[in-house]
């Protein structure tokens, strides 16, 4: 009895003492606090490489991009993060417009084409909105050629997609609103809902559902198709709206911004520069089949290049102010 008491007593006091130093005193050396709205396995290799090359100790907080963006807004008076990595130009642009991010330009960043940069943020990798399909469930002839074809009743019950909790889906709707206006976009969402489209939690669920044959069609970012194919599923991909007079395939970027008031601005700048270099771009391209945005870096074998297909002509910087409107529109039209 006595020993147990003593053990617990020591634990209590010891707990206090271990909690305090692990908070207050960082280990020696430079530090970089990263808020990342990207999937952890995708960002980890890049962070590890950066840490190895620079000796800067990286501290990571992963979460939903929008949730972290909210947190950055709340922390504006006392910023905790140095850089914010997000999976959507809309979220980054939004934070940039609200003054949460500080502008930064350097020789290496200028190598990323200007159309992939915005106020306070720079694009790191590109992704296209595509339709993936299961080859054993749908014939070539029956495939849709345009996103708008998905409103056809013949695809009833055959489509899986991510809901409005997903930033890429919201980004897609924002681009559609820019191209064809609110009314037609609303109609498109309504028809998806009417076609009993299943809205899953995220794109990983969508690609797996299509890969294992639950649904013939899924709306995803292009790398999800490649990830599923690498798992051996019989899947194919459609880059939609490539025909004359069609709007082109939509693209979005993942990107990074330096937080205004960051405690480690120098390390943050080194990190952003690092993401714009060939080694970092290659890691993303190799591990996750994304489009490198730095000209001259090759995409992973089998992945199309950004210049290969017709791209929707909507500037990414236009997405930021559309986020709320797209959310309202989608929710109003029945998309969860």
């Amino acid at each position: 009895m006595f020993t147990r008491r003593q053990v617990l007593g020591v634990l209590a006091v010891g707990g206090l003492f271990t909690a305090v130093p692990s908070v207050g005193l960082a280990q020696g050396g430079e530090e970089l606090v990263v808020y990342s709205g990207r999937k952890e396995p995708l960002i980890q290799p890049v962070l590890e490489r950066f840490q190895k090359e620079t000796g800067v100790r990286v501290v990571l907080k992963s979460g939903d991009a929008s949730a972290l963006a909210n947190q950055l807004l709340e922390e504006q008076k006392n910023p905790q993060a140095d850089v914010f990595v997000a999976n959507d130009a809309g979220v980054l642009g939004r934070l940039g417009n609200l003054g949460v991010l500080q502008p930064y330009l350097s020789a290496s960043i200028e190598k990323i084409p200007a159309r992939y940069r915005g106020a306070g943020w720079v694009g790191v990798t590109g992704r296209a909105r595509v339709i993936m399909y299961n080859k054993s469930l749908i014939k070539e002839a029956d495939l849709p050629k345009s996103l708008l074809d998905l409103s056809d009743p013949k695809y009833k019950g055959k489509i899986a997609a991510a809901g409005t909790a997903n930033e890429s889906m919201l980004g897609q709707l924002s681009e559609m609103r820019q191209v064809m206006g609110d009314e037609k976009t609303r109609e498109f969402v309504r028809s998806l809902v009417a076609n009993q489209t299943i809205f899953l939690k995220g794109h990983t669920d969508v690609r797996k559902a299509v890969g294992r044959g639950e649904f013939p069609l899924g709306i995803v970012n292009h790398y999800y198709y490649h990830l599923q194919r690498a798992e051996g599923s019989p899947v194919g991909v459609i880059y939609p709206d490539q025909g004359a007079g069609q709007m082109g395939t939509m693209i979005n970027v993942s990107g990074v911004g330096i937080v205004k008031g960051a405690k480690h601005t120098a390390a943050a700048q080194r990190f952003v520069d690092f993401l714009a270099t060939a080694p970092a771009q290659e890691i993303f391209a190799q591990a996750n089949y994304e489009f490198p945005l730095l000209p001259g870096v090759q995409a992973q074998a089998g992945v199309r290049s950004l210049g290969d297909f017709k791209v929707t002509q909507v500037p990414l910087s236009a997405l930021a102010k559309e986020v709320d409107g797209s959310l309202k529109l989608a929710n109003g039209a029945g998309m969860p």
Partner: protein, 543 residues
């Protein structure tokens, strides 16, 4: 009231420092909730009405239906098991007695995670069936959503009812049962007319715990996609650039939780049961006869589903994480957020929170038990508020308070600790109150009359006697903090991931091998304080 009874000393005035201490603790605990309510009232009418019109109805229906289903089923399962274990000649009773309580070590969201890997989309069951039938998938066997959420919650929360009902069944006097038999009542009538009424208070208390848990649960409903209030609040928090909707929904949820608390207290007040203590004999076991095998099967099924299966799944996935190179790198040896760091963070923060909560609860309990008065009662109830508050709501209110009044505190570990203390101090408070009430004031008075100062009396007389209760209160808060998920998720600073976070992030990305090791570690860590509490509870129960 008690102090006015004959033979007891006249009403004593509380020492001013104690009053101040207790008042400070109570007010500090109440601030977040009050501020949340203020914020939600400030939200403009348009947001309120659009939320009420579109979301409130379905959310209310789902949340209440889930709470009701889980409470009724958990009460049934818990009472049934307790009766079989305590009152029948079930083979190997003493083993089952422990095993039936053991699912308490499995946090509900870990249960949900195990469920997903087994019966979720492309879980083991579907994979096996699909392979046998030679098809890609068998969506028909997938069970996700409301029934799955209810099942997982029942299997992880029934021990609350089981433990309380078991204690009551064990302590019932044989004489009452024999009297019923003597009056010509059969076994079923005896159960209905004697055993069940005696059980009512224990059942009520256990069911309250289950209902409050079901209302406030965040992990299970999110993983298994049940659209309850907490899931909707989290969606608001993660997808909207505006906290107004989350504040409104949280306020409604708090009202529901307080309603449940109030209803239970009313119900408890109306029916009181008194038992004579002298000449107590343990009740004679009911002979199961031909029902032995079915009874054994029933108990075995529950224990198998709630305890053995999760353990086996976690162990299997953990082994897989050790053999898979990418999982090994990400989970065990990664430079950031590996499970060892998470383990250290979990233990340290839970220990710190437990210590703070126990210390802070003491003056509140002391004031209420030794110097009952109107302010003492108010302080005591205010300190208990956290009991009814879902973790997500505590976190949200701390986000509001922190960013508004203490930006230097926001985004630090201190904020996480505050959340743990607000939520779990009531657990320490209740234990300390009971212990203090059992400690006769005459001992303290004797010490005072022998010339000891109040402080010296506390240190030399009260503390040594209260020590086991203090340790138990500490262990309870430690256990709860160790497995806290939603508040940690929202409030943790970068680099301070705990075990629950290391389960949550991979599990919500459907990377099962990455989530299992942290889950297994968490379950193993929970075993120690739980075993301590269990042993203590058993030695303290009558006979």
């Amino acid at each position: 009231m008690r102090n006015l009874q004959a033979g007891e000393p006249a009403l004593r005035r509380a020492p001013a420092p104690l009053l101040w201490l207790a008042g400070t603790v109570a007010c500090a605990l109440a601030v977040p909730l009050v501020y949340l309510l203020v914020r939600s009232v400030e939200v403009d009418g348009a947001t309120w009405s659009s939320l009420l019109a579109t979301q409130l109805g379905p959310l209310l229906a789902t949340t209440l239906a889930l709470a009701l289903a889980v409470t009724v089923l958990a009460a049934g399962v818990g009472t049934g098991l307790a009766f079989l274990v305590e009152r029948t000649d079930l083979p190997a009773r003493s083993l089952w007695r422990v095993l039936c309580a053991m699912p308490l070590v499995i946090p509900p969201y870990v249960g949900a995670f195990c469920y997903l890997t087994l019966a979720g989309p492309q879980g083991l069951i579907e994979q096996w069936l699909a392979a046998r039938l030679g098809v890609a998938s068998v969506p028909q066997v997938r069970l996700i959503g409301f029934p799955a959420g209810a099942l997982v919650l029942v299997l992880t929360t029934y021990p609350f009812v089981y433990l309380l009902a078991g204690a009551q069944l064990r302590s019932t006097d044989r004489g009452l049962i024999e009297a019923a038999h003597a009056c010509g009542q059969g076994p079923w009538q005896t159960f209905r007319r004697v055993t069940l009424p005696l059980l009512a208070p224990a059942l009520g208390a256990g069911s309250l715990l289950v209902a409050l848990y079901a209302i406030s649960d965040f992990g299970v409903v999110s993983l298994l996609r049940v659209e309850t209030f907490t899931a909707a609040i989290y969606l608001q928090l993660t997808t909207r650039f505006d906290r107004a909707g989350a504040a409104v929904l949280s306020a409604v949820l708090v009202v529901i939780a307080l309603g449940v608390l109030w209803a239970e207290q009313r119900a408890q007040g109306s029916g009181r049961v008194a038992q004579m203590k002298s000449g107590w004999r343990p009740p004679a076991p009911v002979l199961l006869g031909p029902w032995r095998l079915p009874a054994l099967l029933a108990v075995g099924t529950v224990v198998g589903l709630a305890l053995v299966l999760p353990f086996a799944l976690l162990a299997a996935w953990t082994v897989q994480s050790l053999t898979d190179r990418s999982a090994l790198a990400a989970v065990w040896t990664s430079a950031y957020n590996n499970v060892w760091q998470a383990l250290a963070h979990s233990l340290a923060s839970a220990a710190a929170a437990a210590t703070i909560a126990t210390v802070a609860a003491f003056p509140v309990a002391l004031l209420w038990v030794r110097y009952p008065s109107r302010p003492a009662g108010v302080f005591y109830r205010l300190s208990q508020l956290g009991y009814a508050l879902p973790g997500l709501v505590v976190a949200l209110s701390l986000v509001f308070v922190g960013t508004q009044f203490a930006p230097w505190l926001y985004g630090t570990v201190a904020m996480v600790l505050v959340a743990y203390v607000v939520r779990f101090l009531p657990e320490a408070l209740q234990g300390l109150r009971t212990a203090l009430a059992q400690l006769s004031p005459t001992l303290e008075e004797a010490s005072r009359s022998l010339g000891c100062s109040p402080m010296a009396t506390l240190v030399r007389v009260s503390f040594p006697l209260l020590w086991p209760s203090l340790v138990a209160a500490w262990a309870l808060v430690f256990l709860s903090s160790l497995r806290e998920l939603p508040a940690t998720l929202l409030l943790r600073p970068a680099g301070f991931d705990t075990l629950p976070i290391r389960i949550w992030i991979p599990a919500s990305e459907s990377v099962y091998t990455h989530a299992a090791p942290a889950a297994l570690l968490l379950v193993l860590c929970s075993l120690i304080p739980l075993a301590f509490l269990f042993v203590r509870a058993r030695t303290e129960m009558p006979r």
